[in-house]
């Protein structure tokens, strides 16, 4: 068994040296976070699974020639993010499907967790309404906690662009999520129709 204590760089070296388990171990370490990124970006579990498989296979094939060992994680995440972005671009016109609130086998939320669950759904719905160029940086920076610098590397755009796309996305979300409800209309804040509609959907559940 590949040593659990190995660094990511050790695993890449072991993989390059022919260890058949090293790459799987590397994937195991990062797959949950990458799954979350893929699912939240693509919003379609089948597409997310396809994107991850494609990305991991292409990383597997490229890994033996990978040299910048200090950046294994960024490199792997970048391949995944690119696979997701490629898919987003390809399907531009296709409607998205609702994000499942619980994975298979996940326990049903107890009654007292209901309102938390509903809030979560509203946040997920709001995220889904963002243009994709804003959703990807928001998912990476605000949901998954990557730094602006990391996100810029992952998305292949300037840090300033990451910041300004996040700014635009947060402004939209602040409206949709109702945090700006009482602000006067002179500052680009439309009537809170979206919020009212969401609120109604929420109450109707």
């Amino acid at each position: 068994m590949t040593a659990a204590a190995s660094s990511d760089a050790d695993l890449i070296s072991a993989h390059a040296a022919g260890d058949p388990y090293a790459f799987s171990e590397l994937v195991k370490r990062h797959r949950d976070r990458m799954w979350a990124v893929a699912l939240r970006t693509l919003r379609d579990p089948e597409e997310a699974a396809d994107a991850l498989q494609e990305a991991f296979i292409s990383a597997f094939r490229a890994a033996s020639s990978f040299r910048a060992e200090s950046q294994v994680t960024t490199w792997l995440h970048r391949i995944v993010v690119n696979a997701c972005l490629d898919r987003m671009r390809r399907r531009q016109t296709r409607p998205t499907v609702p994000l499942p609130e619980a994975g298979p086998g996940e326990p049903v939320a107890p009654r007292d967790a209901m309102s938390e669950r509903e809030t979560r759904l509203i946040i997920q719905d709001a995220l889904a309404e963002l243009p994709e160029e804003q959703r990807a940086p928001i998912v990476l920076v605000d949901v998954e906690g990557y730094s602006v610098a990391e996100t810029a590397k992952l998305l292949g755009i300037a840090e300033g662009t990451v910041k300004s796309r996040c700014a635009r996305g947060r402004a939209k979300l602040a409206k949709v999520l109702g945090h700006l409800r009482n602000r006067s209309a002179d500052a680009n804040v439309p009537a809170d129709g979206v919020n009212v509609q969401q609120q109604r959907q929420w109450e109707d559940r």
């Binding site: 994937v27 949950d32 699974a49 991850l52 298979p104 947060r170 402004a171 602040a174």
Partner: protein, 251 residues
């Protein structure tokens, strides 16, 4: 657009400008000139607070662990990659298969299971293994529900051939529900309560049956095929499990 000369210094400020300030988009000089003025304006401060609250909402979203079926599929694909002599999986072919699938859990695994090169170990589930397959009476009343087509014909000696099709389905047929499936599995001493990766009514050597594919336990890429007699299976009947088979990667 972030230059000092184009940044209005007096309220009201646009939401976009305040969001830029909040996100650190403005150049340092514009930021230094605007920020104290914004902080002195209660309404503008409330916008910054709203943006903070929005970020807090986003941070509160829980992690989403990768579902087992997806992890299994990726493990299987990587195991396939790790076998130098193995034929390469055609992604196009896998995609075509997936486009035909019905449910995610099954479809996700169909290509992987088909591609991985499977070795079958058939463990007879009960006494009926001693009987010739034709000895079972055909029960016409057992026609699976929810499907206008006759169930897939499967030979007990070639269960593996049906796996790709079954993985695409989530059709409990005469078993109706996952609860009933769990009960039938329990009868056969199988304690899996997970949702099957795929399930479909089949005709096992001419006999109505239900084939379920379950996650295979701790070994990556391993699955378990169980064939049930929907007429008799239940928590108290070990004979309801007609076949119980493990699929594992040939390594």
């Amino acid at each position: 657009m972030t230059g000092t000369e184009r940044t209005p210094l007096d309220p009201p400020w646009s939401l976009d400008l305040l969001a830029d300030l909040h996100a650190g988009v403005l150049d340092p000089e514009a930021d230094a000139r605007l920020r104290p003025r914004v902080m002195a304006d209660p309404e503008a401060r409330s916008v910054l607070a709203a943006l903070d609250a929005t970020m807090a909402d986003l941070r509160s979203l829980p992690p989403i662990p990768m579902p087992r079926a997806v992890a299994d599929r990726i493990d299987a694909a990587l195991a396939q990659e790790a076998r130098p002599a193995a034929p390469v999986v055609s992604l196009d072919e896998a995609r075509k298969r997936r486009n035909r699938r019905l449910g995610m859990g099954g479809g996700v695994l169909a290509a992987a299971a088909a591609a991985i090169g499977i070795a079958l170990v058939v463990v007879p589930g009960g006494d009926q293994a001693d009987q010739p397959p034709g000895a079972q009476p055909t029960q016409a009343s057992n026609t699976p529900v929810g499907s206008a087509q006759p169930p897939m014909a499967v030979k007990e000696t070639e269960l593996g051939a049906a796996v790709p099709e079954v993985l695409k389905a989530q059709n409990y047929g005469p078993l109706d529900s996952q609860d009933r499936l769990v009960g039938c599995l329990k009868g056969g001493g199988i304690t899996s309560t997970a949702k099957p990766l795929g399930i479909s009514p089949v005709s096992l050597d001419g006999r109505p049956a239900v084939m379920a594919i379950l996650p295979g336990g701790a070994v990556a890429g391993q699955f378990r095929i169980v064939v049930l007699d929907p007429e008799t299976c239940g928590p108290d009947n070990p004979q309801g499990v007609i076949a119980d088979t493990t699929i594992k990667p040939t390594r």
